[in-house]
Every structure is written in structure tokens, then in C-alpha cells.
């Protein structure tokens, strides 16, 4: 069975919301939209207090190369441009909008009809991605158009579509593959055209049989696109691991997928590309899973960007009384949420509720040198050694032991019977080594 070469773990799957149909969340009254919602240079806000906006009005503009536009997900009035706290408690520039009605900009096709014919050429497609603010929805929020501008001397040989969803609990990709199948396939056709390629491979983990069945069925109508079921193993959805699983190639340390001829995008990104290119619709909403063992109303919700988290919680019937932790994203790589008043962003894929009991880590014992963390590390690192080096602030040695190759997947900490805070220590090391490297390159 197809999977990646080394390491990995298999946490309890808990895909509790996998059969919940996507529901449309009612619009908020008071939206907060962050000016920058991607990785790269910050975007510039182009609206002011009292401006009237419609759905699709440009709010902030990408001026640098690696940057992404943000469009208004609402119609209404800008009440202020200020800062707001994000899920993790950081203050960031944000645009506050009082929502009035739901009026869209001209030129955006809001109909349900599926548009198959692709009119734009490669360059126009890439420009459209940039214009419509498309970013990678697998988590990183890297501006998608940049990925499609293949650097001189490199060639795209594989287009890989990530429908793995290896994180426990998350079900949003599963749902869109089931409910927006055709749109995703057209999105993939658009990607192929942008890259001048004929083939694409969609990887889906075996625990989504319905999605695999429907997607495989659909692939018969789209020659050159095939679905490959994958063994269940976390972190298969991580870019390097997915490339390895589907092509057998290994992205060299510190390099991008294009180095081995691969372009990887998530199914949700394919869907966003479909809307951008065929319907001229900017990236203003996404499907998020509201889930958790203690949650009675599991939901997959289509939510507009900028909806305060508290409203989503209220819409889903509030939090169970024993809630101890909220996570944005999956339980392996997601971030713990500090502030429930913070708004969603383009890449908010799930809100995971954990009880107080689940939220606590088990007590720590001494490292028993069992080597489980070493076997679990998909990057072939020695987490026990890295953690010790980082603890003792031996940054240079940590660098030699390839601390920067760590993808922060959490397999080591997940598997450690002694509950050492391996990844917490390694993260500190990555920051320090990163700083040392920057200082070195400035010299």
C-alpha cells in the first residue's frame, strides 16, 4: 500500500463529523478581517473608515512578490481600521466591517451552475489566482500564484493534489471532495493548464472510502487525473511526505517541492481556484469543521472569513461545560486558541474542542531511551538528541543534527512514553538556529 518511506504515527482518527453535510453559517453582523492572511510580505490596506464595501471589494492589496490580496467577504461599512487579536493572542492590523445585506461586486458569478470550459490561458490563470487572493489552504497560506511560476531551469513533472486529511478529527476536505467533486476536478484542470501539464494525482487516505469512491468515479471523466488511495499514516498530508508517498521522490533538505519536479496543492485550494477562475470569485469563505469528543453538534460549516469565533461557537450550541482547550486546526499540528473573540481567516479549517481532561498532558518521566521518537520521526531525525541539545543550549550541535529539517509534525512528542516535551524544546532550538543563520548570512 502506498505511503511515505519513514516514520509516522497513527493517532486515533476520530473523524466524528465525516458524515455531516456542509451547512452555510449565517452572516455575522460585525466582521473583523485581517489585512494580511498569508505567509510573506504584509499586504497594504486600501480602505478607510466609512468606506462602503461589497462582497468582493478589495480590502488589502498585495504589493510585494510573495503577498496576497484580501477581499471583503461582506457588504457594509468599514467602521475602523485598527488592530485585532488573532486566535493566538497576537495583535494584527484588521478591518472592522458593519455588515449590511449581502451585495456582491459586479462580475462575480454567484450562481450554482458548474462552468466547465476554461477560457483563460496559463498566464491569465496565474494572474487571476493572484488577483483573487488565493493562498494554499493546506495550512501554510502560501500565495498560490507564486507556486505556479516555475523558476528558470526547473520543470513541473508531477501535479499532486492533497486530499489526505491525515490530521485526526478534521473532515472539511472529506466533505468538499464528496459535495464539490466536479468543481475540484475542474479546479485541477485549471491547475494543469496553468502548468502546461496533462496529468495530476490525487492522494486520499483510506479512511475516507466515500470520498475515494466518488472522486474515483469522477476521475473517469477527466483523463490524466487519477486518485491514489493511501495507507493511513500521519503526517501523510505534509508536503514532503505526500510527494514521497505518491512519487517516491525526496525533496532535498531546505528545498522546495519544485526541486524534484512537484507542485502540491490541497483539494480546498483546487476548489478555491475553480471559483476564482471560472466564477471570478475571490477567496472569502471556507469550510471548517466544528468538532470534538464532547461536542453534541458536530458540524461542517461554510463560513465567511472574518467571522468571530464566538459566533461560530454559539451557532453550534455553545461549548460543553468541561471544555479545557480549543484548537484551530487538527490535534497534531493545530494551535491552541487563546481568544474566542478573534475572527476566522482564510485557512481556518477547524475548531476542535477538548475537555479539560484531554487538554492536560500526562506527567513526565525520565527519558528511557526507547528510541520510539526516532522511529516515529518522518524526517529521520533523533528527537531525543535534539531535545537534549536544545535544552542545554548547544545550538551549533543541534544545527548539525539537522534541527532545521524538523517539520513540527509532533510525531515524536505524540509517541514518547516518557512524555518529554520534545517538540517544545526543538521549537526553541529552531528559533535560535534560525537567528544564528540569519546573523551569519548578514556578515
Amino acid at each position: 500500500m502506498t505511503t511515505f518511506r519513514k516514520g509516522g504515527v497513527h493517532p486515533e482518527e476520530n473523524k466524528l463529523a465525516k458524515d455531516c453535510k456542509i451547512e452555510i453559517m449565517p452572516l455575522t453582523k460585525k466582521a473583523v478581517v485581517f489585512v494580511s492572511q498569508h505567509i510573506g510580505a504584509p499586504a497594504t490596506c486600501v480602505v478607510q473608515k466609512d468606506d462602503k464595501v461589497k462582497v468582493g471589494t478589495l480590502l488589502s492589496k498585495a504589493e510585494a512578490f510573495i503577498c496576497a490580496n484580501v477581499h471583503s467577504p461582506y457588504s457594509g461599512t468599514v467602521t475602523k481600521v485598527d488592530v485585532a487579536t488573532d486566535f493566538n493572542g497576537f495583535k494584527k492590523p484588521a478591518i472592522y466591517i458593519d455588515v449590511e445585506g449581502d451585495e456582491w461586486e459586479d462580475g462575480i458569478d454567484t450562481s450554482e451552475a458548474i462552468v466547465k470550459e476554461i477560457k483563460l490561458d496559463s498566464k491569465q490563470i496565474i494572474d487571476r489566482m493572484k488577483d483573487r487572493g488565493i493562498v494554499g489552504l493546506g495550512g501554510a497560506a502560501f500565495p498560490t500564484n507564486v507556486k505556479y511560476m516555475i523558476p528558470e531551469g526547473k520543470k513541473a513533472e508531477f501535479l499532486l493534489i492533497n486530499g489526505v486529511e491525515c490530521e485526526p478529527y478534521l473532515t472539511s476536505d472529506n466533505r468538499i471532495m464528496i459535495e464539490n467533486t466536479e468543481e475540484i476536478f475542474i479546479g485541477i484542470e485549471i491547475m494543469k493548464k496553468a502548468l502546461n501539464m496533462n496529468n495530476a494525482i490525487i492522494g486520499i487516505e483510506k479512511n475516507k472510502p466515500e470520498a475515494i469512491r466518488i472522486m474515483t468515479e469522477m476521475s473517469k471523466n477527466y483523463s490524466g487525473t487519477k486518485v491514489v488511495p493511501l495507507e493511513m499514516k500521519y503526517p501523510q498530508g505534509a508536503e514532503k511526505q505526500l510527494i514521497n508517498a505518491l512519487t517516491g521522490r525526496e525533496v532535498p533538505s531546505g528545498k522546495l517541492p519544485i526541486e524534484v519536479g512537484c507542485v502540491v496543492d490541497n483539494v480546498a485550494t483546487a476548489l478555491a481556484i475553480y471559483y476564482a477562475v471560472q466564477k471570478n470569485r475571490p477567496l472569502i469563505d471556507n469550510v471548517l469543521t466544528f468538532t470534538g469528543k464532547s461536542v453534541t453538534n458536530q458540524k461542517n460549516l461554510l463560513v465567511r472569513v472574518g467571522t468571530p469565533l464566538q459566533e461560530i461557537i454559539d451557532y453550534c450550541g455553545g461549548l460543553p461545560s468541561d471544555t479545557g482547550k480549543l484548537i484551530s486546526g487538527g490535534p497534531m499540528m493545530g494551535k491552541a486558541i487563546m481568544d474566542t473573540s478573534a475572527p476566522t481567516v482564510k485557512t481556518t479549517s477547524s475548531i476542535l474542542v477538548m475537555s479539560e481532561k484531554e487538554a492536560k498532558r500526562n506527567p513526565q518521566t525520565a527519558c528511557i531511551r526507547c528510541g520510539k521518537c526516532v522511529s516515529a520521526c518522518p524526517m529521520g531525525l533523533e528527537p531525543l538528541l535534539l531535545a537534549t541539545l536544545c535544552e542545554q543550549k548547544r545550538w551549533e550541535e543541534a544545527e548539525k543534527e539537522c534541527v532545521m529539517d524538523c517539520i513540527e509534525c509532533g510525531c515524536c512528542l505524540f509517541t514518547c512514553p516518557a512524555n518529554r516535551p520534545l517538540l517544545d524544546l526543538i521549537r526553541v532550538g529552531k528559533n535560535q538556529v534560525g537567528a544564528i543563520r540569519r546573523a551569519r548570512s548578514q556578515k
Binding site: R5, K6, V9, P11, E12, G89, P168, K240, N244, E250, V251, P252, S253, G254, K255, S321, T323, G324, K325, L326, I327, P331, M332, M333, G334, K335, A336, I337, T340, M354, E356, E358, A359, R361, N362, T365, A366, I368, R369, C370, G371, K372, V374, S375, C377, P378, M379, G380, L381, E382, D405, E408, G410, L413, F414, T415, P417, A418, N419, L423
Partner: protein, 321 residues
């Protein structure tokens, strides 16, 4: 709602804990323990109980009054050391010697280094080798109590005989292989039944407490090396199967060498470690002055482990040439 907990990912954890691993090993040792009681009766039971109790007591005592570390007695590792130490002894050993052996195992072998996870040598082996050298007349017997099944019809007292290994070393008629598999042979009481030990090993494999690398490399290299010697000169060297099944080889390969604290962390390192143990054991047995060599072989490889960890690295993702 109480305040939200904010901590770094991952937010879920496997159910495996240090305690579960340690108690899992204890469970895996039970078949060998039961076989020992069946063949050697109350003395085997007593030696094991005294050994386990003393190991736990000394860990607690030293931890509390000398190291002043949190109490770790319940994590099960002292129980393992106690059982393994006992399994290496003849059932006729005086109990006071067992207590001293336990003190050395825990005191010198484990707690001097700071307790769980920090000791370079397998504590049970440290205790065993100490007893072997200090009380040779009681521990390193050439005449061992022979098994006397609890429910045998004719009860003959204090039957003694030679161990298979001393028969190998000094000549004599070897028992049939089936006796070695089941445990109907003279020897340290926990080492006698290969089947019972393997059963424990399979249990640990299934629960993912150990991996196959060390036992397979250990037994495989011993088998191959002893096999080559046997092929060269079958009159001087015995059938390699005897080496595999007799003495401490099985217990060593399945329970002693796999002690995670004192063996390498990478699979490659574990293969080297296991192979080293196997080859050294056969060298000691065939060319050394003593019939047995498993303990020394493993201790030597324990000493090499830091070096193996330093030089045998994992093959890292993204560095393929």
C-alpha cells in the same frame, strides 16, 4: 467556562507510557516465571520474591535519602530488574546473597547514575556479574539443581546435575533439544524454558514494547557464528542449536539486551548491538575459560552503546545522494 489551556502542539498523545512499558515487560516475564515455579517449586518463588522486594526497597531507599528524587518505585523498572536478577540464579542460592546482589544491581548498577534512564549498564547484569564473581560457589555452580516438577510422582530431593553449557564446555551427553525448549533442564531457573521466554518476547513485540531488531540480530549472529564453527569442526564444537537454547542466550536476547535504556536508539544501531552480543557470547563460550558468556557480552555491548549512538545515525529524509 474555565480558562482555556494554551500549549504547543501536538494536543493528543499515544496511550503508551513509561509505566505501561515497564509493567508490560513484567507481564512478559511471567511465563518464564511460571515455568520456573513448576520445575523448581517454592525455592524459585522465594528467590524471585526476595529479589524483587529488595530491588524495590533499595530503589526507594536510595532515591529518598541519597538522591532525593521523586519516588519511582511504582514505575515497574525495579520489578523487572528484580525478576531478571533472580532468573539468572540457581534456585538453591541463599537468600541473603540475593539481597546483596539486589543492592549492587540497584545501588551500583542504576542509582549511582541517577536512576531510571541514566544507567549505562543493565542493572540486573551488574548484579549478576557481581554475584558470579563474589559467590562463585553458590552462584556459578557446575552442579545445578535439576528440575523437579511440582507434580511429579516420585519426589527426589536435591537432585543435581550439570547444566547443558557445562556439558558443552566439558563434554558429556547433551540432553535432547526438546528439554531445552520446555525447560526440563538444569540451570538458572528463569533461563530454562526457551518457549516461555519466546512467548514473553512475542507479547512484547505485539505490544510494541520492543522491536525485533536486537533479539533477531543477537540470536541470528550467534546461530551463524556457532554454525560456521560447527561446520569447520563438528567434533570440537556443538550443534549451534544448543548454543541458542542453552544457558542465558534466550533470556539475554529477549529480555536483557532489549533493555531500552542500555541499548542503541536507532534500528541500525540495534542490529549492530545485537550482532555484537551474539558473536561475543559465542566467543566467550567456545574460547573462554567459562561455559557461559551472555552477561559479559551484553555488558560489553552496553559499554559500546554510547559510541554506537554517536556514530550510527539514522538516514535522514532529504539527504539522498
Amino acid at each position: 467556562m474555565a480558562l482555556l489551556t494554551v500549549s504547543g502542539s501536538p494536543h493528543v498523545h499515544s496511550t503508551m507510557t513509561t509505566q505501561k512499558i515497564m509493567w508490560g515487560v513484567v507481564i512478559a516475564l511471567l511465563p518464564a516465571f511460571l515455568v520456573a515455579i513448576y520445575f523448581f517449586g517454592i525455592p524459585a518463588l522465594m528467590v524471585t520474591l526476595v529479589s524483587v522486594a529488595s530491588c524495590m526497597f533499595f530503589e526507594w531507599l536510595i532515591g529518598k535519602y541519597l538522591l532525593k528524587t521523586p519516588n519511582t518505585v511504582t514505575d515497574g523498572s525495579a520489578v523487572i530488574t528484580g525478576m531478571l536478577l533472580a532468573f539468572n540464579l540457581p534456585s538453591s542460592v541463599p537468600l541473603w546473597m540475593v539481597i546483596i546482589g539486589a543492592l549492587v544491581a540497584m545501588g551500583v548498577g542504576k542509582m549511582t547514575f541517577g536512576g531510571l534512564g541514566k544507567n549505562p549498564f543493565n542493572p540486573a547484569l551488574v548484579g549478576r556479574v557481581f554475584m558470579f564473581l563474589s559467590f562463585p560457589t553458590a552462584v556459578a555452580l557446575s552442579e545445578w539443581p535439576m528440575p523437579n516438577p511440582l507434580f511429579a510422582s516420585s519426589v527426589t530431593d536435591a537432585l543435581t546435575g550439570s547444566t547443558t553449557l557445562s556439558l558443552i564446555a566439558h563434554g558429556g551427553e547433551l540432553p535432547p533439544i526438546s528439554d531445552l525448549l520446555l525447560g526440563a533442564t538444569g540451570g538458572s531457573f528463569g533461563e530454562i524454558s526457551a518457549i516461555a521466554i519466546l512467548l514473553g518476547g512475542i507479547y512484547m513485540l505485539c505490544r510494541k514494547i520492543i522491536t525485533w531488531h536486537i533479539p533477531v540480530a543477537f540470536l541470528g549472529s550467534a546461530l551463524i557464528f556457532a554454525g560456521i564453527l560447527w561446520l569447520i569442526d563438528p567434533t570440537q564444537f556443538v550443534n549451534p542449536l544448543y548454543h541458542l537454547l542453552a544457558g542465558g542466550m534466550m533470556l539475554g536476547a529477549v529480555f536483557m539486551a532489549t533493555d531500552m535504556v542500555t541499548s542503541p536508539v536507532t534500528h541500525k544501531g540495534q542490529l549492530i548491538f545485537g550482532a555484537g552480543c551474539g558473536i561475543l557470547t559465542i566467543i566467550f563460550r567456545c574460547f573462554g575459560p567459562m561455559p557461559e558468556g551472555v552477561s559479559f557480552a551484553i555488558l560489553i555491548m552496553n559499554a559500546v552503546t554510547p559510541l554506537i549512538n554517536k556514530f550510527v545515525k539514522t538516514d535522514k529524509f532529504g539527504y539522498k545522494k
